[in-house]
Amino acid sequence: MEFTLIIPEIIVFLTATAILILDLILQQEKQKKLLGFAAEAGVILAIAQLVRMFALGQQASSWGLLTIDTFGHVIKIILLVSTGLVILLSVDYFKTIISRKGEYYCLILFSVVGMMFMVSADNFISFFLSLQLTSIPLYILSGIDKNDARSNEAAYKYLMLGMLASVVMLYGMTFIYGFTAAANFEGIARQLTSLDLHENPILLIAMIFIFAGFAFKVAAVPFHFWVPDTYEGAPTPVTSFLATAPKVAGFAALIRLLTIAFSPLIAQWRTLFIILSILSMSVGNIVALSQTNIKRMLGFSSVAHVGYILMAFAIADQMAVSAAIFYLMIYGIVNIGTFAVIASVMRGEDHQIQGLAGLSKRSPLMSLSVAVFMISMIGIPPTPGFWGKFNLFASVVNGGMTWLAVIGIINSIISVYYYINVLRYVYGDQEIGNQQDKQARRPADPAADGLNNIPCLMRLAVVISLALTIIIATYPQPFIELAKAAAVALKTGLWL
Amino acid sequence: MLSLGSQFLVALGMLIGILIILLASMWLERKALAHFQFRLGPMRTGYHGLLQPIADAMKMVVKEMSVPEGVDVILYKTAPFIVFIPAFMVMAVIPFTATIKAADLNMGIFYVMAVLSISTIGYMMAGWSSHNKYSLLGCMRSIGQFVSYELPMGLSVLAVVMMAGTLNLNSIAQAQSCNWNIFRWYIFKQPLAFIIFFIALNAEICRVPFDLPEAESELVAGFHVEYSGMRFALLLMAEYVGLFTLTSICTTLFLGGWYGPPVLPGLVWFFLKTFSLIFILFWTRATLPRVRADQLMSLGWKVLMPAALINVVITGLLIMLKVY
C-alpha cells in the first residue's frame, strides 16, 4: 500500500486529533497533563516508525507529490526529537499560563505534520501547502499566551511578515511554473536546463522571490526583522520550537529544492547564498553583542547560526550538505536545551540576562547545562558545536572558498563574547547587587516562586538535551555518518 | 453557439418573461393570502384584481427616487442592481423544457450556487450604505441567514448531483425522465434532501417564517427601509425573481423538470410544478409565525446541516452498494 510511506505523518496527525477529543473528555485541570503525555507518546511512536523505515533502507519512492527517502527520514527524526523535547518542556511550563492546553499540543503536532510533509515535498503544490500547514499553527502558537501583550505582538508581527513572505514565494513559484509548465522538482530541473537565464532574467527574479520566502522562514538577514520580537514575546517553549523545528524543516526543503529543482542554475544561486550567509553571520553576531534580553540574544545568535549553515549552500556539494545536516542536528538539540534551561529558571520574568545571576549557586545542574550549551554554540572542542563547525568550515575550504570560511571563523570569535557573557552571570557573583530587588519582586509574581524547585519534567528535558549533547560530543562519528547518508540519498544531479 | 444579437434577444425575452411571471406571482400571492384569511383581496382593477400588480408597478415607476441624507451614495445606488442581477442571472440555466433554455452549462447547478452568493453582497451593500440602524440590523440578519442556509442547501443539492452524476441541470432533469412512472423523480429517492432544500430555499428568499431580515414588526422593513421608487421596486422584484428561480431549480432537481405523465406538454408541467411549489410557500406564509433568530440558527446548523451531511453519506453508500 502506498500510504504506508507516510505512516509517521499519519501517526502524528492522528495523535493531534486524538488530543482534541481527549481535551473534551478530560474536564479537570489536573488531568490535562495527560494531553502532554499523549502528544509525547505519539511523537515517540512516530520516531520509532521512522527509525524502522530508516533501518529498512528502502529505495526512495514517490507518492502523492512526495518523495520518501533516507534524507527525509533523518530530517524527520531530528524534527520529532526536538518536538518531543519541546512538548516535555511545555507540560509543566503551561500549568498556569494558558487554559487551552489541548489546542496547544494539537497545534504543535499539526505544525510538525506540516514540516514532515514539507521535508518530503518534491512538488511546488505539496511544498507550498505543507509550508502553510507549518506556519499557521506557529502564528497562533506564538500568540497563545493571550494575556501577555508581548505574546500578542509576537504573533501579530510573525503573522503579517510570514504571510507576506509566503505570498512573495508563491509569486516566484508562479513564474517558474509559467516557464517550465511543471510543478514537480525534477520536471522543473529538466526544463530549466534548456532555458537561457540571460534571455530570461525573470527566472532570476522568481528564484530570488522563492529564496526570500525561505530566508524568512529560516530567519536569514535581511529577512530577520521578526526574529527578536517574536522570540522575546512568544512563551519560551514556543520560542524553542520556533527556533529549531521550522528552521530544520525549512533548510531541508531548501536543500531538496536547490539540489533537485534548481540544480541547473547553481552558478546563480551560489552567489546569492554567499551574500545571504555573510550578511546573516555578521549582522546576527554583531547585533547579538548588545542584547540584554537573553531570548533576543539567542534570537540573533540563531540568525548567526543560520548564516553558518547557509555557507554550505554557497558550496553545495555533497560534503557541504551533509555538514549542514549535521550542524542542524546539533543546532536543534543545543538550542532546545538552552531554551529549556531558560524556561525552567526564568518563568514569569522579563528574561534579562542579569536574571541568571547566581544560577550556579541555585542549581548546579542547570548552570552546568548552560555552560555546556553555550560553549557548544561557540564551537570550542570537545563540544558537538565544535564538530559541527569543524565539518562545515572544512567543507567550505574543501569547496575552494577559504575566504568564506575565514569570515565564518572571525564571526565565531565575535560570538564568544556574548555567549561567555551569559556564563559570566551564571558563574559570577554579581548576584549580590540584584538579590535585593529580586527578592522584592518575587512575591508579586506567583510563577516566579517556583524558581528553586524546577518541575521534574523540565529537568528531564534539560537532562535529555544535555545527554544528547554529550553523546554527540563523545561519539560524533555515527551522527556524521547519518548526515552523510541523508545527503547521499538525495536524488540530485549535483553529485550523482 | 448563437450570435451575439440573438443572445441579446434571448436575454430580453427572458427579462420580459420573468416580469410577467413575477407580476403573476405577486397577484397570486395577494389573492392566495386573502383567501386563506377569508378575504377577497384586490377585486377592483380588472377581473378579480388581475391588473392590480400592473397598477402597483406603474406606481413604483413614477414615484420619486429619494436619496436620504448621509448614505454612501455610490453603494446605495448600485446595491439594488447587485441584488437583482444575480437573481436574474440564474434564469440563464433553468431548463424549462428540453429545448427552451438559454444556456446549457456543464456546471449548471454550481453556477446557480455561485451566482446566488453574489446577491448576498448586494443585500449587505444595501443595508450598510443606508446608514440606518434598522437596515443594518436587517442586513446582518440576512447575511447570517444566507450563510447558514447556503450550506445545507448546497449539501442537499450535492446528494442529487451524486445520483445524477452531473452538474448540468438539463442532464439532471433528463435523469428523471418518466412517462407515468413519476417515481423516477428524485423527490421519491431523496425525500430528505428535498425537505432540506425546500426549507433552505424558503430561508434563502427570506419568506415567512424566515423573514427576519425584513421583519416588519421589528425592523420596519429591514435592509430596504431607506429605498423608494424604482430602486425599491428592483429589490422587491429581486425577491420575486428569486422565488421563481429557486422554485424552478427545485422543480428541476427534485420534481423531474418538464417530465410528467404525457397528458400535458412539458412546459405546462414545468410551470405547474413550479407554481405548486410557490403556492406551498404562500401557504406556509399564511400559516406559520416568524421564527426567532436563535431558532433560525439552531435549525440551520443543528438540524438541517447534520441531516444534510448524513444524507450525503447515506446517498454515497447507496450508490456504492448499487441500490440507486
Binding site: C106, F110, I136 | A114, S117, W128
Partner: protein, 169 residues
C-alpha cells in the same frame, strides 16, 4: 474580441484593486475587493476555466468577502476621523514599488514565454474531481487540515479563555 474583453476585465480588476488599497473606508475597500475578485473570475472564464471561475465567485466573492464584511460589522467603528492609510515612509515605499514594478514588467516582457494558445484539455468538473481525488489527494487533504488548524486557531484566539472569566469574577 477576446483581447478587448481581457483588457476590460484587467482594467476593472486593477482599478478595483487600487481602490481597495487606497479607500479610506474599509467597507468600500471590501466591496472593491469583491469587484477585483469578480474581474479575476471573468479572466478565468476567458481562459475556459469555467469551474475555476465558479469556485472563485463562490468561495471568494460569495464566501470570504461576506465573512470579511460580517467581521467588520461586528467590530466597533473607529471613533472620530477615519485616518487614511498613510505612512511617513511612503516616499521610499513608492520608489521601491515603482522600481519593483519596472523590473518585473521589464523582465516579463523580456522573457521568452513558452506560450500555448489552446488549453491543453477540457477542464470539466469531472476531470478536476478525478485528478483531485486521485493524483492530488494528499495536497487536498493537507488543505483540509490547514482549514482545521485555522478553525482551531480562531477558537484559541477568539474564545474567551478561563483567564478572562477569572478576571471578571
Amino acid at each position: 474580441m477576446q483581447l478587448v474583453i481581457f483588457f476590460v476585465l484587467a482594467a476593472i480588476t486593477t482599478v478595483a484593486g487600487i481602490i481597495m488599497v487606497s479607500a479610506d473606508n474599509i467597507a468600500r475597500s471590501i466591496y472593491s475587493h469583491v469587484l477585483a475578485l469578480l474581474g479575476i473570475a471573468g479572466i478565468y472564464l476567458l481562459l475556459y476555466a469555467e469551474f475555476m471561475a465558479g469556485v472563485q465567485v463562490l468561495v471568494y466573492a460569495g464566501g470570504v468577502s461576506i465573512m470579511l464584511l460580517f467581521a467588520l460589522m461586528l467590530t466597533k467603528p473607529a471613533k472620530g476621523v477615519i485616518r487614511a492609510l498613510d505612512h511617513p515612509r511612503r516616499v521610499p515605499a513608492f520608489i521601491t514599488a515603482v522600481v519593483l514594478f519596472g523590473l518585473l514588467s521589464f523582465s516579463i516582457f523580456q522573457a521568452k514565454w513558452p506560450l500555448k494558445v489552446e488549453p491543453s484539455r477540457v477542464m470539466t468538473p469531472e476531470v478536476i474531481g478525478k485528478s483531485m481525488f486521485a493524483d492530488y489527494v494528499l495536497p487536498f487533504e493537507i488543505v483540509s487540515v490547514i482549514l482545521l488548524v485555522a478553525l482551531i486557531g480562531a477558537v484559541v484566539i477568539g474564545v474567551k479563555g478561563r483567564e478572562d472569566t477569572d478576571d471578571e469574577e
